[in-house]
Every structure is written in structure tokens, then in C-alpha cells.
């Protein structure tokens, strides 16, 4: 089996096997991190970005998440599945990043959420509109944080409901409820936009 097909847990165990007594890692660990990079970079970046972070801040958060894996490999290597844990960690880092930003800027994240949706071209198929990434982002941003979190974990991180439940720290039933509610709201928002 090619190593690129190894499960997350297997990869993490192999990284952990490269730990030196002084807690540094032996040469070769980069290979395994690269596999993880290909699996999670885009999702992580998208999640962070969809939470309203700029690209630079989102990249910073994802890099920080990998640095954290490096530092805590011993403990993380024992986690199975890894995916929900990773996105949970990533969301915490996103929140930390927001707190950091708010410390230095006076940007109100709630104010960002209240930004009115731009009028869109009401012609054409509703799904075509969704091809406009910016439009989708604005719709998602109008959701409540709880609904937005579940939806983002689903559409941007490709997590299955049980993984979302673990990452968000909620029941699976709540995941479905929230997903359905979020989709209903988006549907209504889009229909309203079409009517306008």
C-alpha cells in the first residue's frame, strides 16, 4: 500500500516514531506532513477563510495547526480518528486568531456578519448563482454561528456528520438538525434574493 494511502492515524504514528529523545523529529517527518498537507490544507484554509479570516490570517492559522501537530505529535498520534480533532483544533485557532485581531484592530466580527447581501443578478438558475463563491460566502455568513459551524465543516471540510459531531462537540442528531436548518435558511435567502 502506498504510503499516501495510509490512514491519518497511521501517518501520525509514523511521525511519532521519528521522535528523538530531545523531542525533535528525525529526518523524513516532512514526507508524512506533506501527506497531511495535501489532505487538510485546502479544507483548513477554506474553513478559516469562511470564518471571515483574510487569506493571510487563514494561512497563518493552518500553518499554526500543523505546528501544533508537530509539537504535540506524541499525544495526537494516539487520536483516531484524527480528522474531527484537527478541525476542532483549527476552529479554536480561528477563534484565537479573531481574538488576536480584535486586540489590535477594532473590527467587530458581528458587524461583518450583518453586512447586507449584495443584490445579485436575479436572472438565471439559482444554482448558477452558487457558483459565485463570494455569494455563497455571504449567505453562509448570515447564518447563526452554530449553524454556520456545522455547515462549514460539512461543505468545506468534507466531514461526515459523526465527525462534525465530534469536532463541534455536539450530538449527531444535532448535526443533522443544524445542517437541515442551515440549508433551509440558505434556500429561503436565495429565494428571497431571486424575488428581489
Amino acid at each position: 500500500m502506498p504510503e499516501s494511502d495510509l490512514s491519518d492515524a497511521e501517518i501520525l504514528k509514523r511521525i511519532a516514531g521519528l521522535i528523538n529523545p530531545d523531542h525533535s523529529l528525525q529526518t523524513g517527518y516532512e514526507y508524512y506532513f506533506e501527506i497531511l498537507f495535501h489532505r487538510y490544507y485546502k479544507q483548513g484554509l477554506a474553513l478559516a477563510h469562511y470564518y471571515g479570516l483574510s487569506r493571510e490570517d487563514a494561512l497563518d492559522v493552518v500553518q499554526e495547526s500543523f505546528a501544533k501537530i508537530y509539537r504535540k505529535i506524541n499525544r495526537i498520534s494516539r487520536l483516531d480518528p484524527f480528522k474531527p480533532y484537527y478541525f476542532k483544533m483549527l476552529m479554536n485557532l480561528v477563534h484565537d486568531k479573531y481574538r488576536e485581531i480584535n486586540k489590535h484592530k477594532t473590527v467587530d466580527f458581528d458587524a461583518v456578519l450583518e453586512t447586507p447581501v449584495e443584490s445579485i443578478n436575479n436572472t438565471g438558475n439559482i444554482f448558477e448563482k452558487l457558483q459565485n463563491e463570494d455569494y455563497i460566502n455571504r449567505l453562509i455568513l448570515r447564518l447563526t454561528p452554530k449553524l454556520r459551524q456545522v455547515l462549514l465543516l460539512k461543505i468545506k471540510c468534507n466531514l461526515e456528520p459523526p465527525e462534525i459531531a465530534e469536532a463541534a462537540g455536539i450530538q449527531i442528531r444535532q448535526v443533522y438538525n443544524r445542517l437541515n436548518k442551515a440549508l433551509d435558511l440558505i434556500q429561503k435567502m436565495m429565494e428571497n434574493d431571486v424575488e428581489k
Binding site: E30, E34, H38, L59, A67, Q131, L151
Partner: protein, 709 residues
């Protein structure tokens, strides 16, 4: 349906395709490595505020907790090792001066370190303990400084300076090398076995009273310290002289030693004079050789002083000391913190400056209070007992007395049954009466023995019975009437008055006291003129045991019961408690202050108490109550007037005084009742369960002490 996504089409539309990675792993990882390095540096160089805050708070808590526990450990260590005094109880305001800081101390369970002064105000007290070693109680209006408590090698080295007032001490037996010293201006008091003198700058009257164990009190003369330069005495010489010449006194249980300010000043001047008169050589630095010569002259001065001073003649504890020392009883000492005051051989000492003044005030107070606690008068009757001594006893509902040459029988309700002259000859002195089986027996100094019925009818008389003098009288038991006489020794008679022969040796002894009869063994215990105690068995008609107890005449009646009996020796004041069955000594104590008293000891079998009283030379009088089983002094009364009669029964002690006053003390509650409406001295006092009968020359009184008659 549960757990199902309804709008899958919308969801799929939202799940937009991920764009291509806009960054290579290499570029990405560079950023990660930077973060790792940055983090590593932060770890080494910087600590976050939350961490600092948390760490600081934790450190502060740890430090505070550490300090707190260290203090506790320190104090426990101090206490357990005896280096600290634990305050176990305070009453009122107590002032503590520690490290030049004065504070009022209402709280208990604090620790006092050496070099601390403690001052109690009027009405306030403080109790302290050297854990496992000693209990101290500072009485109201007192001041002490705790100089030392213990040595580095954990030897007890207590030195407490008493500046004013009184301190009670209850210390466990000292071990070898231990010292327990209390200094007052002019004196140093140490538990026996320790001799130590400390110079002080002030003089004061000091008394040392002891209730248990022994305490040694020595003198300290500030003169040696102050004038040594003037007198050219080097420190070694000073020490030598102090050790060599200054008197000390061992104060034993139940006694006290008093030293007055004036007396100390006098001694001071005597010694100074001797030093000045001893020649020019002493004005140079002196060594031991010279000191021996000086010592001789100083000893002369000391002797002169000792003959004038009461210091080395310890006295019996007064009422004040007894009461104050009673507060050191086991009941009053806290035992909750591990101090066991019950260990035997403990020493209790009381030091009190100006103690004599206190005593006087107390005595006056008794008189002031006397009218407020009156005994209830049942009735008073005119009475003409005749001339001569009056000796009376209670017998059922009768009072039987011999007064001069008369026999007197009175009913307790005041009716006179008999008042007749029974003496056969002129100047015949009757003995005290004795009642047995409804017959009254009376002896006389002219050899008569009379037997009367209770209404005063003569049943029989013996003219050759034997001379009954001083403190003897006939006694009777189941089969015999016994008379211990001066000229015919022990004589036995049947209840019909017929003589019964006994061994010659008993009839050859001279007896001046009433014998004691034991009911179970039927022994007659006799005390003879030659100082022998003899037990004579009435059934076997033989001597059971005999022992010499003194060189002096036995002049006070033997009192007691079947299990314990007492003989009080007149000249020495020695009391010997012994087993009537074997003659074996149970305890023995000397009460020199009570020697040559005119009162016979009174024994009460109800609660095993023994009462002895004495009229002192200065018209005052003393009485001591002893626990008959142990010989321990329980009460000591000092009265400003002459006692004329005493009695002890039913847990009460009664005293009649020359000034006509009567005092009744409940020995259990310590409550006193007085009767002050009598003119003239009472002759005799008799106690029964509810009433007190009192006779004067002209009247007799019935007083109720258990409420209104």
C-alpha cells in the same frame, strides 16, 4: 426521518470544488517551521501574562500557605519542646508585651515566647502551660516577665520574674539538670534540688506557699550587686558569698514562708555593717582565703537576723493560700490539650507579694459579712450549769453533760431532764459523760465511776474504779465498761459495775486519755503516759499489739473508727494515722503550728475528716481540716479571735469564739453561716444533722443550719 439531510441538492451545490492548492508544501512548511522556531524562542524567553498571573497567584498562595504552616509547625515545635508558653485560658483583659509591642490579649491558644511580659488587670487572669511540663496561672493584678523557658539541649530552665501580684505554679517533677525558678524582688524560689540566686534592684514582701511537693526559697540581695565595687568584691567573691551565707528555706507541703521588705532591709544593713567592720583587707579584691574570714562575721549577722525574721520558720498555709492553691486542683486545669496535671509528685507554689495585707483584709471581710449570713435561732433558754468545766455529748434526743460537779441531761427540744450534783466529794472533777445502751457513765478524778439512767437516776457507782484525769472518761461497749485511769491503768467493769480482772501490765500504766473502742475487733486502743499505743482485745483479754510512738505523754484522745485511728502528739504537733487492727502507720504529718493546743482533735467518720484547732499567742486562732485517709490539708482557717469550742459532723465544721460569734462551715459547698447574737464566749458546741447546740455560761441555744426551724 431522523438523521437525514433533506436538501441534498443544495448541499451538493454548496460543496463547491476545492480550488487547486495555491501554495506548495515547501512554502507552507517554511511558515510552519518559523512558527516552531518562534514558539521555541517564546518558550525560552517569554512567558505569557496568563501564565505569569497564574504562576504568581500560585506562588503567593504557596508562600502564604507555607508561612502559615511553618508558623504552626514552629509554634508546635516551640510548644512541644517547651520553648513556648501556650495560653490556654484568659479572663478579662491581659496585656502582653512582646518585642516591645504591647497588645491586649483576649484570645486563647497563642504562644508566649521568652522575653515576654504579661500583666493582668483587676479581675483578669491568664492560664499558661509549658506543654507537658508545667501549668501557670497568673492571678488578677499580677505582672510577670518570662525570662527563660528551656535550654538548647531541651533541659527545663524556667526563669520567671514576678513583679507584682501572684502566680500559681503546678509543675511536673523535674529531671536531673532541670531548673524552675521564680524570682521576686529579694527572693528566688526554686523547686527543690535547685539553688540559684539572682540579684534584683527592688525589694518587696514575698510569701511562698506550697500545697504539694517542695519549694526552696532563697534570698537575693541587691546590695551585693550594687555595692561590690564599693566593697571591692570581685564577681567570684560575690557569688561565693551569696552561695555560702545567704539562708534559704525549704517550704514543704501545706506550709508557707513569708519575707517582708523591712526584714530584707534589716538583713541588708546587718551584712553591710559586718563587711565594713571586717577590716581593710576586704576593701581590696578578695579571694577565697579572705572570704572564709569574712564569712564568719557575716554568718553571725545572718544568725542574728534569722532569730528576728520569720523567713526560715515556715508556717502553715493560711485560708487565703489554701483557697488560692485550690484553684490548681485537677478540675480547674485544662486537660484538653494534653497536659496531665494528675501526675504525682507535682509541685504547686504560690507567690504573693503583699500577701499579709491581703490576709488581713480577708479576715476583716469575714467579720463584715458575718451578719448577712445568720444561722436561724430555734430557741434560747436560760441555763445554770454550775461552776467548772462543761463536757457534753449528744445521745439520741438528749444532750448529756457534766458541768462542774453536776450531771445535766437535756432534751433537744429544750426540756431539762436532770440537773443534779453527783460528785461525792468536794473538788471532785467529773469526766465527760459517755452514753451506751441507755446508761450514762461518768468517771471522776477521785476514782469514782458512776452509772445513771437517762433520767438521771443513779444505777450504780464504783468508788475504787481509778482516777480519771485530764482527757479521759469511761467508755462502754457490748459487755464492758472501760476506764483508762491514771492510777490503776486499764480497768474493766461489767454493765452492773463489777470489776473484771485483766493482765497486770495494763493496770500498771497511766492513762490520761479516753481510749478508742473498735466495734468489729473489740479492741481497746489506749495511749499511755509513756508514749505507747496499745491495742487490748476485750474477748481474748490480751494485748494485740503495742508500739511506742513518742517520748512524750499522750494527752489527746485517740479518735477514729474501725479502719483508721489518729493520735495527735501535743508537743511536736505530730499526727499519726494508724490501723487500729495492726497498729501500722497509714500516714504521719507534723503540724508544729498546732502543737500544744488546748483542743482535742475531732474526727468525723461521715466523710473521713479530721479537725484540729489552736488558739495562737496573738489572740488569733487557726483551724485545719485534714483528709483523714491521706493526711492532706483540705482547709485552713485563720480567725482574728480566740476559738473556744469546735465540732465536726455531718460535713459541717462549727466554731465558737470568745466574742460569742459562731461560725458554721459547710465543707462541701464551703458556704459559711454565722450567728452573732450571743454575748460572751460559748463553752461547747454540738452538731447534729439539722441543728447546732451551743452553751454559754448562762444560756443554751438551738440554731438551725438547714433553713428556718
Amino acid at each position: 426521518m431522523k438523521n437525514k439531510i433533506k436538501n441534498k441538492a443544495l448541499l451538493e451545490a454548496l460543496e463547491q470544488k476545492m480550488s487547486e492548492e495555491d501554495i506548495t508544501f515547501g512554502e507552507f512548511w517554511k511558515g510552519v517551521e518559523e512558527k516552531l522556531q518562534q514558539n521555541s524562542l517564546e518558550k525560552k524567553t517569554a512567558i505569557g501574562w496568563p501564565f505569569i498571573m497564574t504562576a504568581t497567584a500560585t506562588a503567593v498562595v504557596i508562600i502564604l500557605a507555607g508561612v502559615f504552616f511553618f508558623q504552626i509547625l514552629l509554634q508546635l515545635n516551640l510548644l512541644n519542646s517547651g520553648r513556648g508558653l501556650l495560653i490556654t485560658q484568659t479572663k478579662g483583659s491581659v496585656e502582653i508585651v512582646q518585642n516591645n509591642k504591647t497588645r491586649l490579649l483576649p484570645l486563647e491558644y497563642r504562644v508566649i515566647h521568652p522575653d515576654t511580659s504579661i500583666k493582668t488587670g483587676g479581675g483578669s487572669e491568664i492560664e499558661l502551660q509549658i506543654i507537658g511540663r508545667a501549668f501557670l496561672k497568673l492571678l488578677p493584678g499580677s505582672s510577670i516577665t518570662v525570662e527563660r523557658l528551656i535550654t538548647n539541649n531541651l533541659r527545663m530552665d524556667v526563669n520567671i520574674e514576678l513583679k507584682s501580684g501572684s502566680i500559681l505554679v503546678h509543675a511536673l517533677p523535674l529531671r536531673q539538670g532541670d531548673r524552675f525558678i521564680i524570682t521576686t524582688p529579694g527572693t528566688t524560689t526554686a523547686i527543690a534540688g535547685t539553688s540559684y540566686l539572682v540579684g534584683l534592684n527592688q525589694f518587696g514582701d514575698t510569701r511562698v506557699a506550697v500545697s504539694e511537693g517542695k519549694v526552696k526559697t532563697g534570698l537575693t540581695l541587691n546590695w551585693f550587686g550594687q555595692d561590690r565595687e564599693k566593697m571591692k568584691l570581685n564577681p567570684e567573691a560575690l557569688f561565693f558569698l551569696q552561695e555560702a551565707i545567704l539562708p534559704s528555706v525549704l517550704v514543704t507541703e501545706g506550709r508557707k514562708s513569708v519575707i517582708t521588705h523591712e526584714s530584707l532591709l534589716r538583713l541588708n544593713s546587718y551584712l553591710e555593717m559586718e563587711i565594713r567592720n571586717s577590716g581593710t583587707e576586704v576593701k581590696q579584691p578578695v579571694g577565697r582565703k579572705n572570704l572564709v574570714e569574712i564569712k564568719g562575721s557575716l554568718l553571725t549577722a545572718i544568725k542574728k537576723w534569722e532569730s528576728e525574721s520569720a523567713f526560715t520558720k515556715s508556717q502553715l498555709n493560711g485560708l487565703d493560700e489554701t483557697k488560692e492553691l485550690a484553684t490548681l486542683s485537677n478540675k480547674t486545669i485544662l486537660s484538653s490539650i494534653g497536659f496531665n496535671p494528675l501526675l504525682s509528685g507535682t509541685v504547686a507554689a504560690l507567690l504573693n507579694q503583699d500577701g499579709l495585707q491581703n490576709k488581713e483584709m480577708k479576715t476583716n471581710k469575714q467579720d463584715d459579712d458575718s451578719k448577712s449570713r445568720q444561722l436561724a435561732l430555734a430557741w434560747v433558754k436560760e441555763f445554770k450549769p454550775g461552776v467548772g468545766s462543761f463536757k457534753s455529748i449528744l445521745a439520741d434526743d438528749l444532750i448529756v453533760a457534766t458541768a462542774g460537779d453536776h450531771l445535766l441531761v437535756l432534751k433537744k427540744d429544750g426540756i431539762e431532764v436532770c440537773n443534779q450534783k453527783i460528785a461525792q466529794n468536794e473538788n471532785e472533777v467529773l469526766t465527760a459523760p459517755y452514753v451506751n445502751n441507755n446508761v450514762i457513765y461518768v468517771g471522776s478524778d477521785q476514782g469514782y465511776l458512776y452509772a445513771f439512767s437517762l433520767n438521771g437516776n443513779l444505777l450504780w457507782k464504783q468508788s475504787e474504779a481509778g482516777q480519771a484525769k485530764f482527757n479521759t472518761c469511761p467508755v462502754a461497749e457490748r459487755d464492758y465498761v472501760i476506764l483508762a485511769s491514771q492510777d490503776k491503768g486499764l480497768q474493766l467493769f461489767t454493765h452492773q459495775g463489777k470489776p473484771v480482772g485483766i493482765r497486770d501490765s495494763m493496770s500498771q500504766k497511766a492513762f490520761y486519755i479516753r481510749p478508742l473502742i473498735t466495734q468489729i475487733t473489740r479492741n481497746v486502743i489506749l495511749g499511755s503516759e509513756d508514749g505507747f499505743l496499745t491495742a487490748y482485745n476485750l474477748e481474748e483479754k490480751r494485748i494485740v499489739w503495742q508500739r511506742k510512738v513518742s517520748e512524750e505523754r499522750i494527752l489527746y484522745p485517740i479518735v477514729g473508727n474501725d479502719s483508721i485511728a489518729f493520735i495527735f502528739l501535743r508537743n511536736s504537733g505530730r499526727i499519726i494515722a494508724f490501723r487500729p487492727a495492726t497498729g501500722e502507720t497509714v500516714w504521719e504529718h507534723e503540724f508544729a503550728a498546732l502543737s500544744r493546743t488546748t483542743f482535742s482533735p475531732v474526727f468525723s467518720g461521715d466523710n473521713n475528716r479530721l479537725l484540729i484547732a489552736k488558739v495562737l499567742e496573738n489572740k488569733a486562732s487557726q483551724a485545719v481540716l485534714l483528709d483523714a485517709l491521706s493526711g492532706k490539708s483540705l482547709e485552713l482557717w485563720e480567725f482574728p479571735n480566740n476559738i473556744t469550742c469546735i465540732d465536726l459532723a455531718y460535713s459541717h465544721a462549727a466554731f465558737g469564739f470568745e466574742n460569742g460569734k459562731v461560725l458554721l462551715v459547710n465543707l462541701e459547698t464551703k458556704k459559711e453561716q454565722w450567728f452573732t447574737d450571743i454575748n460572751g464566749p460559748s463553752k461547747t458546741i454540738l452538731l447534729d444533722q439539722e441543728y447546732l447546740y451551743l452553751f454559754t455560761d448562762q444560756k443554751w441555744f438551738k440554731l438551725s443550719y438547714k433553713g428556718n426551724p
